[in-house]
């Protein structure tokens, strides 16, 4: 997942040759109507919390409080926020190594998450999991995952259980566009189609898989064509427009709840940071990052809030998010580490 910089040379200084560029960013403001104000502010607040969380993660990582690999989702907040806004209690999700945003958006507590990243007993996983294994079963968060693609069939199985339970719940598998080449993607999607279970495959296309740009590298079809070929609804949306994501997801989720089977959505976005914290991204051009900065999902929400005269409320949400995360960091830093004597707990049940 990244270089163990304390002991091996990091890849950061690799002189990688230039690579094909990625697509241009979409830059328009979020498409909101006046009646959407409260909803937009709600979404903005979630995005601000994710942003504040991820920025704090970066700082704490540099300060050595976060022990393992950590991958942040700065620039991808609208995807997590919009998608999870379409979900309700009882729904499930699985996510990846880059899952902080999904967990927060599904309702996980920032303090418990931060404590998990700090390896504390008060963490969501009592410090056993870390960033790549964040989970909270009572919120339907069945886990981040360190194995690319592994969460996809897990979500299909959760959807199977949801269908058996009959309460109309759905499952969402979040994964990156790098995962679509894996057998887990194919087998998971194939099963979902065979079983016609209520699962949404939410593919965050942030255009990179580690150091490799995903466009143009492997030939083959577009993400949407790929998914559609299995015989399911497959759409692509501007993943940096939180309402576009929410609206698309809401439709797919409603269909899944109604028994119409699985669906796929590509959420087009961009990873503003490195693959992992500490990755200096020698493999991509600075101007590409700059261009995508203009498509920042928070900025685009603000651009929609501005004409509604709500920028001050957005500022207040920023401040609240900053305060919440700062408090979360402080509280988490003060929390105890697990007792080493408890190391063998919870291996069997």
């Amino acid at each position: 997942m990244g270089a163990d910089s304390s002991e091996g040379p990091a890849v950061a200084d690799a002189g990688a040759p230039s690579r094909p560029g990625v697509v241009d960013p979409p830059g328009a403001p979020v498409h909101a109507r006046p009646g959407d104000l409260e909803r937009l502010l709600g979404r903005y607040g979630t995005m601000a919390r994710i942003r504040a969380f991820e920025e704090a993660v970066g700082r704490r990582f540099r300060d050595g409080d976060i022990h393992g690999f950590v991958h942040t989702s700065i620039g991808q907040e609208a995807a997590a926020t919009g998608a999870c806004a379409a979900l309700r209690d009882g729904d499930y999700l699985t996510t990846t190594h880059r899952g902080h945003g999904h967990c927060l958006a599904k309702g996980a507590d920032a303090t418990a998450m931060m404590a998990e990243l700090f390896g504390r007993e008060t963490g969501t996983c009592r410090g056993r999991g870390g960033s790549m294994h964040l989970a909270q079963a009572d919120l339907g968060i069945l886990g981040a995952n360190g194995i690319v693609g592994a969460g996809i069939p897990i979500a299909v199985g959760a959807a199977l259980a949801a269908r058996s339970a009959g309460a109309g719940a759905v499952a969402v598998a979040f994964f990156g566009e790098g995962a679509v080449h894996s057998g887990a993607f194919h087998e998971g999607i194939g099963l979902s189609v065979a079983w016609q279970v209520p699962v949404i495959f939410a593919c965050e296309n942030n255009h990179y898989a580690e150091f490799t740009p995903s466009e143009g590298s492997w030939n083959g079809p577009s993400l949407v064509d790929r998914a559609a070929s299995y015989g399911m609804t497959a759409i692509s949306v501007d993943g940096n427009d939180v309402f576009a994501v929410e609206d698309a997801m809401s439709e797919l989720v409603a269909a899944a709840r109604a028994g119409e089977g699985p669906a796929f959505v590509e959420l087009r976005t961009y990873r503003m940071g490195g693959h992992y914290e500490g990755d200096a991204t020698p493999y991509r051009a600075d101007d590409e990052v700059e261009r995508w900065r203009s498509a920042d999902p928070l900025a685009r929400a603000r651009a929609a809030l501005e004409p509604l005269g709500a920028l001050d409320r957005a500022d207040a949400l920023d401040a609240a998010a900053a305060a919440e995360i700062e408090a979360a960091v402080d509280e988490a830093l003060a929390a105890p580490y697990p007792d080493p004597a408890s190391v063998l707990e919870n291996i069997r049940a």
Binding site: C125, Q136, I154, V156, G157, A349
Partner: protein, 331 residues
């Protein structure tokens, strides 16, 4: 558990005991859900699940395409979301295509979440060489699974345990690898009226004073055959471990303390195989009880050959077991 109605004259075949255990578990708990290739309408490659599709329907006995990694991953998700999946891997050799859901997901999820999730899942599979299945359908891979913390590994050797360990596996709230032996499927074993033993409890199949043989699965029967055929009347104690994880070291140690000699027999390849654990447990904790070397007798370090004569040369069998017992006794 052996109630009057099941304690019939002829004990059920091993395969019938498995089928009955699945049936009873499905009757007892509507969350128990089977999935696998050809287990539904087809009744399973060997017929273990025969009749269950008709009885419980396609919603609880799920046929799947040939996509074992997907199926097992789905089983993991289903287990976390309230079902109790029993996922079949047709041959244990095929774990190579679906090891991630077993090893990196099911085995670790409860631990990684600090106890936040339960993963009640059974990976049902079978092994059993000696019938020219070829190198990809004849392996005994229980040692790989037993090395992964978070997985229980059960290896029933007779009908009674086929029933009891299947029920126990399904009842467990953690992942269990249940490794049946296909060469036992058609057999009726005595002892059906035995009281059930829990996982983690070995069974002394035969009492003896001179040497302890520790084994499991089909090798229990090969060992009993070997002992029956042995000249000279050495007194051999035979222990069926029944489950590798949890491992009943106590029963083994107590036996070796009496006999002073020990042989571990398994169908798996000896090299870096499961027998090493048992030998090591004895060498670490019971060394001074020993009057002679503790030995392993397993398959040679080779892919399983197809040709019967080669396969017989590669696999442990009753003649070899008898010779190994004699060697341990003579040392």
């Amino acid at each position: 558990m052996p109630d009057p109605s099941t304690a019939e004259a002829a004990p059920p075949r091993y395969i019938e005991a498995l089928n009955r255990a699945l049936t009873d578990a499905m009757e007892a708990d509507g969350a128990v859900t089977l999935m696998g290739v050809d287990i539904g309408a087809g009744g399973g490659a060997y017929g273990v699940t025969r009749g269950l599709y008709e009885r419980f329907g396609a919603g609880r006995v799920l046929d799947t395409p040939i996509a074992e990694a997907g199926v097992l991953g789905a089983a993991v998700g289903a287990a976390m979301a309230g079902l109790r999946p029993v996922a079949e891997i047709m041959y244990v050799d095929f774990i190579t295509v679906c090891l991630d859901p077993i090893v990196n997901q099911a085995a670790k999820l409860r631990y990684m979440t600090g106890g936040g999730v339960r993963v009640p899942i059974v990976f049902r599979t079978q092994s059993g060489a000696g019938r020219s299945g070829g190198a990809q359908h004849s392996q005994s891979l229980e040692g790989l699974l037993a090395h992964i913390p978070g997985l229980d590994v059960y290896c029933p050797a007779d009908g009674r345990d086929a029933y009891d360990l299947t029920r126990a596996a399904i009842d467990a709230d953690h992942p269990v690898c249940l490794i049946e032996n296909r060469r036992l499927y058609g057999k009726r074993h005595p002892g059906w009226e035995r009281d059930p033993l829990p996982p983690g409890k070995a069974r002394v199949v035969r009492d003896g004073d001179d040497v302890t043989v520790v084994t499991w699965g089909r090798m229990v029967h090969e060992t009993l055959d070997a002992v029956a055929a042995m000249e000279g009347g050495a007194s051999v104690e035979v222990i069926d471990l029944r489950t590798l994880v949890p491992l009943d070291v106590e029963t083994v140690r107590a036996s070796v303390a009496r006999t002073g000699r020990c042989l571990v027999v398994h169908e798996a390849v000896e090299q870096f195989g499961p027998g090493g654990e048992i030998v090591a447990q004895i060498a670490e904790h019971a060394l001074f009880d020993l009057d002679g070397p503790v030995r392993r007798y397993g398959a040679l370090a080779s892919p399983v050959p197809y040709s019967p004569g080669l396969e017989a040369a590669m696999l442990p069998g009753s003649d070899g077991i008898a010779a190994a017992i004699t060697a341990v006794l003579e040392h």
